[in-house]
Symmetry: C2
Subunit: 425 residues, 2 copies
Amino acid sequence: MRLNEFGAREAAARIAKGELSSEDLVRACLARIAEREPSVHAFAHVATEAALAAARDADTALLLGDGPFGPLHGVPVAIKDIIETADMPTQYNSRLYRGFRPAQDAACVSILRSAGAVLIGKTETIEFAAHGRNPVTLNPHDLKRTPGGSSSGSAAAVADMMVPLSLGTQTGGSVIRPAAFCGVFGMKPTWGTVNGEGAKLFSLSLDTIGWYARTIDDVALLAGLYEVSSEQHPVPASLNLAWCATPYWDRAVPEMQTAFHATLERLHAAGASLTELRMDEAFSTVNDLKERVMRAEGRVAFLHLHHRSPDKLSSGIRKRMGRTDDRLLRQALDAAAMLRIAFDRMAEPFDAVLTPAVTGVAPEGLAYAGDPIFNGMWTLLHVPCLSLPVMSGEQGLPIGLQLVGPRFSDARVIAAARRIMQLLG
Amino acid sequence: MRLNEFGAREAAARIAKGELSSEDLVRACLARIAEREPSVHAFAHVATEAALAAARDADTALLLGDGPFGPLHGVPVAIKDIIETADMPTQYNSRLYRGFRPAQDAACVSILRSAGAVLIGKTETIEFAAHGRNPVTLNPHDLKRTPGGSSSGSAAAVADMMVPLSLGTQTGGSVIRPAAFCGVFGMKPTWGTVNGEGAKLFSLSLDTIGWYARTIDDVALLAGLYEVSSEQHPVPASLNLAWCATPYWDRAVPEMQTAFHATLERLHAAGASLTELRMDEAFSTVNDLKERVMRAEGRVAFLHLHHRSPDKLSSGIRKRMGRTDDRLLRQALDAAAMLRIAFDRMAEPFDAVLTPAVTGVAPEGLAYAGDPIFNGMWTLLHVPCLSLPVMSGEQGLPIGLQLVGPRFSDARVIAAARRIMQLLG
């Protein structure tokens, strides 16, 4: 195993024991970035010198008997470029923010830094993680394809062994869809459990910080660091799972449907209990509700930029600046609140609910980041979502399996994911 | 009328017509600040030179036939010091942020600047608008008393004729309570209608940007600038009002209760219809729900600062960092969602609902910013709140009358307030 292929927990353990230096680890990641960036284009900015200096600081601290400062001491991480960083540009893939340098770290970045992480760079994103300019990032599994969006670079960087961990954000499907297309773990925790201060606002009721990793252990590490759950959940010996086709099953391609059911079969054969969750009529328009909330709240999020420099916003955002009807927004917010209660009740008896993460493998080209139909509804429901890289479709390309659960069941969903990874080998 | 006593709309109209220069207006406000600050202490920072330069820019633009840039062209405004400003310090009354200079304006500030406003300074606040260090600001009506908190300086600066408009924020009662104690108009619009990016997060489900003014016209000006309502509401000729004692009526002192009922009588005598809204048992714990949400979400909002420098956070915040139970938070969020629907239905038939803003006049001393019991429940319900300076209590000190309405009825509530001001003379 090359150094850049280590997971975060593994690397941190070796660094803490003095078996590995942070500098060697960061150099290995930077070398991988140098080798692969000309093809993958995951990064908007690579902080080579600052990352090496921070790595040497981490090593020195340990030599002096100081630290480890936290569970990521000396471990490189990458940050989606709509999240503010004090020592790197934050450019949102926007013409309004070329070369912009924030004065402080976003809250979610600050926690990584306090935990000892080394910030290695900023990753490509759709303009403001919303609409407009698409990133140039390509899917490491097939350079003709999109990695998904909007957290495109964060998913690709982890998938391509450039970095063990990265941060993204999700308003529709911006964490889970790229995870599913790139064959990595992606987690969007329960809404409100991670401070979003310093990440660009898009939709107040939907926006959530999320992350990517190559092991479920590393997913759990960040969930613990951000303290997303008040309870500990042991890995269940026997799994009590549900599965949910959602109202949008017909949008999935046959390969995805087949792979999904084959995975259910394997889990059943391995001893897991599997119950179908059928969503009733009340859920039939859940994605429309999400669209309505995102549209109305998105107008609020971009109003000041539209006042300041409308010409520097992409038409994709400008054309969403039209006034929406407040009564329709209120109806959507209230319907969403009722559906949250209803879904939590349905899902409560189970360790986790299995559901599609995407409609199929990553589309070709960069014009279309893929269908988020299996993501936005869960974002609206505020539930924890976790994509596991355990399925494949056309040409062996990755397809994620999504686990969801009631709001605030993040630790339970992660525990179920650990057991599922064991059962699926 | 001295120049510093002009309202924003009046001043902007005179500046646009060339009858008044922005520089003269800003100088008058700065002179008032210089005269009164040694007693009132409303400001954490006064940007004398930058404000004068911006005023001269505004005047020059008009002389060159450029502008007015917006409805606040040349008008000075003050900003609560938990809201980021690109050209002034933002210090949150926190030892963690002494001398901190953000790299850009908060969204709500950016909109003011695009509208031509001149930023005159940053106003005193409770530490992070949450808990901990109290501001040094005194109530202009009685310098032995608190102006209320946490938007203490913003309310006092407007009340004391230092500036015609200011921004605040409300999580519990931080806009309405100071407005009521200082005898100015204060507005907290519907949750989510004004972008809070760049204002310190305290509680994701509660935080709302608000503002202070000395005329209802100026309240309406900012509501229009922030586009908080999708509908226009004409001023109603005959008022169809409700009044609501809330479950907490007994917390009010007799003078407040008397003044409140006397005001209802005056409105009734002036021809307004008045219906009592009784809140049923479901509302009996509405303030407890607000406390539970604020406590749990507040932990998320301060976690990164607690990781970074716990010793520089006041004990008031540190002692609220303990883990809360996610199930209780979920119950509170769901109960709040149901109460929002219930209250909106109750309030829908009326032009506005009259309710207490505070329990009585401003308390003496600075140790206690007053009881927010008549504020937090409305913040949790996400409804528009508007405090009108139309009542008084002990020693003639101001007591606000609060108007609320269903979510997104901001324009209707403002229209009702205009009529109420006419009826009350």
